[in-house]
Symmetry: C2
Subunit: 225 residues, 2 copies
DNA sequence: ATAAATTTGTCAGCTAGTTTACAACTCAAG
DNA sequence: CTTGAGTTGTAAACTAGCTGACAAATTTAT
């Protein structure tokens, strides 16, 4: 049963669709599980062997801490996302941790070295993975060039649109997003100050574009964003 | 002789070191050559089949044109760099062209589909390639987070340091860089206005940190940047 | 229930960097 | 040797967004 679950976790991910069930069964590369509750901090012990993680349930944020102790959000990871050493190179110096944003978090992980071996044995998987990483790169490039060339307002709008598309529950043009981020979190993601984000969100609320609360964000008409 | 050259071009690239000479000979994936002179514009015809390019000689810049006709520098490609559809997905919508920055440009290219087939046959190459893309991604992330969190001055200093390291000729702490960029180009790369870049460069010159001319940039003491 | 901590709302002052505008310089092509 | 296009130098006016500061609201812990 336990093993079944492991395989299912992999099977569930797009990336592994090219493999047959029996192939997946042979792999058995998942080596770790982790559960967490809201607010919990999940450390990636750098002493440990490099790993690739798969977030099965919930949402977490990756926070980087610099020399002066300033915290910046590196990434928001959503259900189904693969994260960690995607570049297949271990990141030594970075001081990062993950923080659970929602109530119940399930993360499973496998060793980078196991994964590499697997890729070597499955050329088609290697190719899919390469495409996967490439796609990720394209997305990152895109969002960064947004950050740089667009103003804060446009960035917030884009962020909300993306979020709504990924996780919102849509009925007609109305979208409801479960809000697990604070305004400060959002501000950091779109690289602006908390105050500016607050201002913009209130402005949108006055305009009737959305309804903000700590629990959920309701966008009345997604096409108007 | 001509074929020899092709193979050598691949052989020369880090990425293909894992392959034996005979393996490389079997590939014969290079399908196109292009030469250009300073100022020439090299279009990537979107109607054509998607390709991966390898810049053998010279420097070029990738310029994106948006709806309003504004041009922004996407990338500066240097000798030995692989560029194009690295994500292994063809980019349909983007309107980009490359412009030759130095006198003699040699670009060779191969079809994306050929490359994919090659990766399928050589899992270890696929793995190296993924690592390669991953590394590129890491670099991009890094430079973008510089763009976002640091001020224009720091960004220019960092840009010059990187440039010096990659292409400068160093004697002791003195570095000479062949300057194929205008101040406007540099400004765009570090995402600031031309005027700010000019101001900063002049400031550095008055401080005795460097000597700027259209032909070359001389950094008197790289450790002082 | 009460205290403590976190999150949100709002405002005035400030600053880095943009924009606009123009002059001076450099260089390649007739 | 001129001409004109491209590049560089400089300055004033302007502005988006940051900082700091504080109050109010809300959540969590005791």
């Amino acid at each position: 049963m336990y093993d079944e679950l492991k395989y299912w976790y992999l099977r569930d991910h797009k990336l592994f669709w090219t493999l047959s069930m029996s192939q997946i069964k042979q792999l058995c590369i998942i080596t770790g599980f982790k559960k967490a509750k809201k607010g919990d901090i999940i450390y990636f012990s750098s002493s440990d062997l490099p790993r690739v993680f798969l977030l099965k349930k919930g949402n977490i944020k990756i926070v980087a801490v610099d020399e002066e102790g300033n915290e910046t959000i590196k990434d928001i990871i959503q259900k189904g996302d693969l994260f960690g050493e995607l570049s297949l190179e271990s990141d030594t110096d970075s001081n990062e941790y993950a923080k659970a944003l929602t109530d119940e978090i399930i993360i499973c992980s496998f060793l980078l070295s196991d994964f590499e071996e697997l890729l070597l044995k499955n050329p088609s998987l290697a190719l899919s993975y390469t495409k996967f990483v490439g796609l990720k790169m394209k997305r990152i490039k895109n969002s960064y060039s947004n950050l740089i060339s667009k103003d804060a307002k446009t960035r917030l709008y884009q962020f909300l649109k993306d979020w709504a598309e990924k996780e919102g529950k849509r009925t007609g043009n109305r979208v409801v997003i479960e809000n697990y981020l604070t305004q400060n979190d959002m501000a950091q993601v779109i690289c602006t100050s908390r105050q500016t984000a607050t201002q913009l969100l209130n402005e949108m609320e006055t305009k009737g574009l959305l309804l903000y609360s700590r629990k959920e964000i309701i966008i009345e008409d997604i096409t108007k964003l």
